[in-house]
Amino acid sequence: MLFNSLSYAFFLPVVALLYASAPRGARWALLLAASYAFYATWNASYLLLLLASTALDYTVARQLARTRSAPARRALLGLSIAGNLGMLFTFKYWGFAAMALGQLGVRVPRLDVLLPVGISFYTFQTLGYAIDVYRGARPERHAGWFALYVAFFPQLVAGPIERAGRLLPQLRRAPDLEWARVCSGLELVLWGLFKKVVIADRLALYVDAVYGNPGLQSPGSALLATYAFAIQIWCDFAGYTDIARGSARIFGVELMENFRAPYFARGVQDFWRRWHVSLSTWLRDYLYIPLGGSRQGAARTARNLMLTMLLGGLWHGASWTFVVWGGLHGVFLVAARASAPLRERLWAASGLPDALRAGLARLVTFHLVCLAWVFFRAETLADATALLGSLAGPWRAPAVDASVFAHALLGLALLIPVEIARERGSDVRARLAALPLPLRWASWYALIFAVVLLGVDGGSQFIYFQF
């Protein structure tokens, strides 16, 4: 069941009404049943994997809390890591590994299995929980609450990857539905839907056409598709996250913010503080820092950054394109660290004003990120290089479907000022809430009719659902 489908438009209010009428003690069961039903609409048999991951980490965490012996605790943590990553490897990476080994002459049998939706998200979430308990956090004793923490439907299939310490206490509170919160949640859902169907899905029409024939594009088309994809993936994933956060807010749960105006970043490191924050902080806390972080000299830091980004790339998908995407970000981060003193000296010597410096930094960062997106979007490395090769050809203007860009630009004309205001620290939602009721309603109606009239109908999948 997609967030941008009519099925979800029925599902969400029905669950909210049932939640409101259920006794407080039974609300977890209702939300859990709804979450499993939500997941089962994709593939009911894969519920078993979700249950297996839940059972494994619930049991491991409970055992960890009872076990004092360090080797036994390590073994328990190892069991969780092996179980979660084993599941992820089998269903997500087996085919890729078999293909890579096949190219080296090693024959490995292929598994014809569908990728379980959300597996990368919920395995990382439960794995993070087991690591937290290993590090001393208190485990959840109630199996039902823990199962709900893993399966809570607004964030089950594409995050945000929540920490137990944040999400479980909110779920346990099970507050009554509150009118203002429901309105605020619906407002966020609507805003996310706007980003997804008006901007992301519209630009996807152009991007898909260009990436369908990457070697036949004019430089203008290749460049435009590169920028368009940067906007598309942001609006797609940020739109999904807004719908997830809005849906959760209805039930009194505040999911973490996953995006903070990422294309305003002044460096690649800054970009990762703003893009898919729940993943970047997960990778930082459970991979980069345990590897040694930046505490052991420049060379080790560079190695840790590269490893983290390569694995972060591979987390997105079993393909060399994602490995290159992660690798490029790793190179950018390492190069940024290494060149920081030189850049500081150059800036100081140039005497350019800070505003210009910030603008240039944003521009360069955006283009570095765009370059990496080419590998993220392309089906194969050959497609990515073909598209980049198209950029180098003699200049020809892009072949443009005016209707696609007219719709998307209209959407961006609303989105960009909102993002600029947020970047400057203005709470747009609070300002909207302070408006008189008729104006507030007028803004909602405008957004609803923008989605209805300008959105792409057809319920296309969110990009991050495939991870």
Partner: protein, 321 residues
């Protein structure tokens, strides 16, 4: 949640429904003025021309290939080309249903068909007919393919989804096609790169006994197109247009489809003829093409003349009117 909150929600929803109806009505009046643009403007233009003696239906390979002036000269009936780029059989079927629902004095419907369109359902592309929801049972049936589609179409503004900007443009800046006869030929000749481009690799599923069955929905749509027109005394001529294939052979599935098309059209009471590069060797000359799928202006003139000849053969009573 208080009674006040619930009351407020009810008012919000009531106002939303009223706004939806008002916005839909406003866009409907824009639609009535649109005469150009693929966002329903071409449909409106075709409906306006529904009393022409001959109406041509099809995709860009109708719009760019069939010259109504040639049909008028050859058959003595007024003609309008209602072909629309990117569209397929569902578009033709819905347009025909609207034309018939509004009443037409046409004598002949000419339908250009691409064999591929009988194996792939492209009905979703024909959402330009959503503003006409409720005018014809055939249109409603194709648009409301599932229960959610039927529900969404209850919203009057939703019927203009992705069409509103195009309508505004068509009304503010009408295209050249607003007053023409619908024929928009390609000018220029096919370059060497286009001539050498790889042919479409599409191949429909094949049954164990070597047949290539049409999609049942598409077969029915084609039958309904012919049968509905015949029921109102309008003759129907279905034809296959040419493609530039160079040295490539026509795929087996296309050869099978050529024959099967004839059987389906004849069973519903229509006439059928392939007017393609296989049946008409003069259509193999590269100089007649703009690209591998489309003739240029010169090619369109050749094809239109051939069409006149085929129609006169199929319907001798039409000639000389």
């Amino acid at each position: 949640m208080t009674t006040r909150s619930l009351l407020r929600s009810a008012v919000f929803l009531a106002a939303l429904i009223a706004l939806d109806q008002g916005l839909g009505a406003g866009l409907g009046s824009l639609l009535a003025r649109a005469r150009s643009g693929q966002g329903a403007g071409l449909v409106q233009r075709a409906l306006q021309a529904r009393d022409a003696g001959i109406l041509v239906f099809g995709s860009s390979r109708a719009q760019r290939h069939v010259d109504p002036a040639a049909l008028e000269r050859g058959l003595g009936l007024s003609a309008h080309n209602a072909g629309c780029p990117g569209q397929a059989l569902a578009y033709a079927r819905m347009l025909e249903a609207l034309v018939l629902a509004r009443g037409s004095r046409a004598r002949l419907f000419v339908l250009q068909i691409d064999p591929k369109h009988l194996f792939v359902d492209r009905s979703a592309r024909a959402s330009v007919f959503a503003p006409f929801y409720g005018e014809s049972a055939a249109v409603d049936q194709i648009l409301a393919a599932d229960r959610f589609a039927a529900l969404k179409l209850q919203s009057r503004s939703y019927r203009f989804n992705s069409l509103a900007l195009g309508l505004l443009r068509a009304v503010a800046l009408p295209g050249a096609e607003a007053d023409g006869n619908g024929f928009t030929p390609h000018r220029g000749r096919m370059g060497r790169a286009a001539a050498g481009a790889a042919p479409d690799a599409f191949a429909p599923p094949r049954t164990a006994d070597g047949r290539y069955p049409f999609l049942p929905r598409m077969r029915q749509m084609l039958r309904d197109f012919v049968a509905d027109a015949r029921a109102r005394g309008i003759d129907v001529f279905v034809f296959l247009g040419p493609r530039y294939r160079g040295a490539a052979r026509t795929p087996n599935w296309e050869l099978a489809a050529r024959a099967e098309l004839g059987r389906v059209v004849a069973s519903a009471g229509g006439a059928y003829a392939p007017v393609d590069e296989i049946a008409q060797p003069e259509l193999r000359q590269p100089a007649l093409y703009f690209n591998r799928s489309h003739l240029n202006e010169q090619g369109a003139a050749v094809l239109s003349a051939l069409l006149v000849r085929e129609i006169r053969t199929a319907f001798p009573q039409l000639a000389g009117n």
